[in-house]
């Protein structure tokens, strides 16, 4: 019983962090139909910047997200205005090519500047734990989970309670209708891309404490994040949460019961079964175009 509770608690903690990492990806797809394959590279880029700040100034890596988040917001906005706006009318497959190129560019720049080495961010608590009875709660996972929940709650409030958030949702649901009531499609898309990139600002900083990383780590991350948002439903924030929790649980439960080899397979089997029943994912919305296509 303890083993089951321990595995589920760990699964939830990890799932919370995964949800934050996947939220930017789903937001960008929801508004712009851009599959941002570079989101994993954004995370590794932020993890590297966090490592540099932590090493040179001793600033706590999770607190460092106060610096990395606005930096990523700015980078996201510039990238949209300078690059992505040019493919705004192109099919989604074009965005995969463009963002894959961007991911390779980031990987190459990191290779040349910080070197092709594994980096670790190890604040005092990196290998410590809280204990509740016989249940172990690793401190970095707990702090990462809390920070992720706080950011996801802020993101949710921004999307549902502010005019900007409503504009983003309106553009996601019906770009033409949003434009008719005065929402600038380009401005909203730039904002959504910037917010999506900014989530990597916090996500990358948290990731830097939980895992070792090197410039090419982004391949592992992007495949995991794409799985999460496909399961949850492309473009759905609650879907990303549920998909992330499912992945976290699949990983920890299969490992705890001696079958870690099956963890990846179990997660993708769940995706296949869900897509057979609900092709739009758990929380995805099926559009008229999807039915007629």
């Amino acid at each position: 019983m303890t083993q089951l509770v321990q595995a589920m608690v760990l699964g939830l903690l990890i799932g919370g962090v995964y949800a934050l990492l996947a939220s930017g990806l789903t937001l960008i797809f929801g508004v712009m139909r851009i599959i941002n394959v570079a989101q994993g590279a954004f995370l590794v880029l932020v993890a590297m910047v966090t490592w540099w700040i932590w090493r040179h100034y001793g600033l706590d890596p999770i607190l460092a997200s106060v610096l990395t988040t606005p930096l990523m917001f700015g980078l996201g906005w510039l990238l949209y205005r300078g690059v992505f706006v040019r493919i705004s009318a192109a099919p989604p497959s074009m965005s995969v090519l463009l963002t894959f190129g961007l991911a390779l560019t980031i990987e190459g720049i990191l290779n040349v500047t910080v070197g092709n080495k594994f980096r670790s961010v190890t604040p005092r608590y990196f290998d410590e734990s809280f204990r509740i009875g016989s249940i172990v709660l690793p401190k970095p996972q707990v702090y990462g989970f809390l920070a992720a929940l706080a950011v996801l709650a802020l993101l949710y409030l921004m999307l549902t309670r502010t005019w900007t958030g409503r504009a983003i949702r309106a553009t996601a649901e019906n770009p033409t209708g949003a434009a008719l009531v005065g929402v600038s499609a380009t401005g909203t898309a730039a904002l959504a891309f910037a917010v999506g990139a900014a989530t990597a600002g916090v996500g990358g900083s948290i990731m830097s404490v939980l895992y070792t990383f090197f410039p090419a780590s982004h391949y592992d991350w992007i495949s995991r994040l794409l799985g999460i948002i496909v399961l949850g439903g492309l473009g759905s924030l609650p879907g990303a949460l549920v998909g992330a929790a499912a992945l976290g649980m699949a990983e920890t439960l299969t490992s705890a019961y001696g079958f870690p080899r099956w963890s990846t397979l179990v997660f993708y089997l769940v995706i296949v079964v869900v897509l057979l029943v609900r092709p739009q994912g758990l929380f995805g919305v099926r559009l008229r175009e999807d039915v007629t296509a």
Partner: protein, 413 residues
């Protein structure tokens, strides 16, 4: 308009192609390069494909450095067979399909004189097939999985001391040398599903079970595993005296962090490759936590092997005073093997080079290397242990840098 302009260039190119083909026929097309040697002053071209991007880019980059250090040292001494050595290094992006097209292109289009191998069994497996098909000598620095040698290739040679199943023989021998009451009673064997890591652990488990060490936990996890707390918890529940992990890098760091978080420290801790990544490893788990961790390694920078000091100095000179990784040393040794065979045979004759290597022992910075008929090496790995924040070689006795062994391992700090 374009169509009207195209015939002239086409005719011109056709003419050039015919002229080239005619010239080739006249000069003896199809003869092996060895019978028609270029002028002694022409550079000797060696073709290499390496994973410079993608999953294996980190060790691939180190292997590239090792090859370049060898190139500089050889060229500074007048080259190979009197010819300056030119390396053509291409990137296979850690991809099996790309590595096949890379070596095919190097052989058929670049027409390189010699080949050197790539990194990992995953990539060397298909690459060695291309080389064998083209009857080209293929010495490789990092492909020791058993399936490499079950191919029974004649031109393939693995330039480390032993194949993967024998990598941990040093630790098993050390445990066998302990009085029975001091040997570990129980052991846990988690390993990554990796062609180089898992055979080491499987073979070690058999060896230790033969000594009466009871297996209490085994598991194989996929390479993309990042969260190790569940595995650490399951291991801790079994309270093993020894944990032997088939760890590539991130997984080795991840399991130790998790064991510390769970609060379990075994008496003996062994990992395959992860602890050989010196500073990156100690940064990942904390320097104090490295104390007493064993691993097996092919190379040590303090070894007294011939040319090792020169290798170290040239590496530091070329790469901003950095310390070479084991992968760089393995690549250097691979090139030394090729050099020894070429100098002994005295010409570029691929079959003669392979025959010579099958019959002789080569001195390298890893120590002496010799091979069986399948290209599998027949020597012993070094047993290393982290002691006082640095690495010491504790076996075999003739290569050891200390006679002291930390046992049992102290608890985590």
């Amino acid at each position: 308009m374009v169509g009207l302009l195209t015939p002239r260039p086409t005719r011109r190119w056709t003419a050039i192609l015919f002229a080239g083909a005619a010239a080739t026929i006249l000069t003896g097309c199809g003869k092996p390069a060895s019978t028609n040697p270029p002028a002694p002053s022409a550079p000797l071209n060696i073709g290499i494909s390496l994973p410079l991007t993608g999953d294996f880019s980190q060790p691939g980059g180190e292997a590239q450095r090792g090859y370049k250090v060898w190139q500089k040292m050889v060229n500074d001494k007048g080259g190979l067979l009197g010819r300056q050595v030119n390396l053509t290094i291409v990137d296979d992006a850690s991809n099996q399909d790309v590595v096949v097209s890379d070596y095919t292109r190097l052989i058929t289009q670049n027409k390189v004189d010699l080949l050197l191998g790539t990194f990992s069994s995953l990539l060397n497996f298909p690459a060695s097939q291309v080389a064998e098909r083209n009857k080209m000598l293929y010495v490789e620095p990092a492909g020791g999985a058993p399936k490499m040698f079950s191919q029974n290739f004649h031109y393939l040679f693995f330039a480390q001391q032993a194949t993967a199943p024998h990598q941990a023989d040093g630790l098993v021998s050390w445990i066998a040398s302990l009085p029975p009451d001091q040997r570990p009673k129980t052991a846990a064997y988690p390993t990554q599903d990796d062609p180089f890591a898992s055979p080491v652990i499987e073979s070690m488990q058999k060896g230790l079970e033969g000594l009466g060490v009871q297996t209490v936990y085994t598991t194989v996890y996929p390479p993309e595993t990042t969260n190790f707390q569940p595995i650490a918890s399951a291991i801790a529940a079994k309270q093993p005296d020894l944990i032997a992990q088939g760890a590539v890098f991130e997984d080795g760091v991840g399991l130790i962090r998790s064991l510390k978080q769970i609060g379990y420290s075994p008496k003996i801790m062994f990992q395959t490759s992860a602890p050989s990544n010196a500073g990156q490893y100690s940064d990942g788990i904390g320097l104090a936590n490295t104390e007493g961790i064993f691993y097996c390694v092919s190379w040590d920078q303090n070894a007294k092997t011939p040319l090792n000091a020169e290798f170290l100095a040239t590496y530091k000179q070329l790469y901003s005073n950095a310390d070479p990784a084991e992968d760089a040393a393995d690549a250097f040794a691979t090139a030394q093997v090729l050099q020894a065979a070429t100098e002994a045979v005295g010409k570029i004759d691929q079959t003669a080079l392979a025959d010579w290597l099958h019959a002789n022992t080569v001195q390298t910075i890893l120590g002496p290397l010799k091979w069986d008929a399948t290209g599998a090496p027949q020597s012993d790995f070094l047993l290393a242990q982290w002691q006082g924040g640095k690495v010491e070689i504790v076996g075999p006795a003739d290569s050891a840098t200390t006679t002291h062994i930390v046992n049992p391992k102290p608890g985590w700090h």
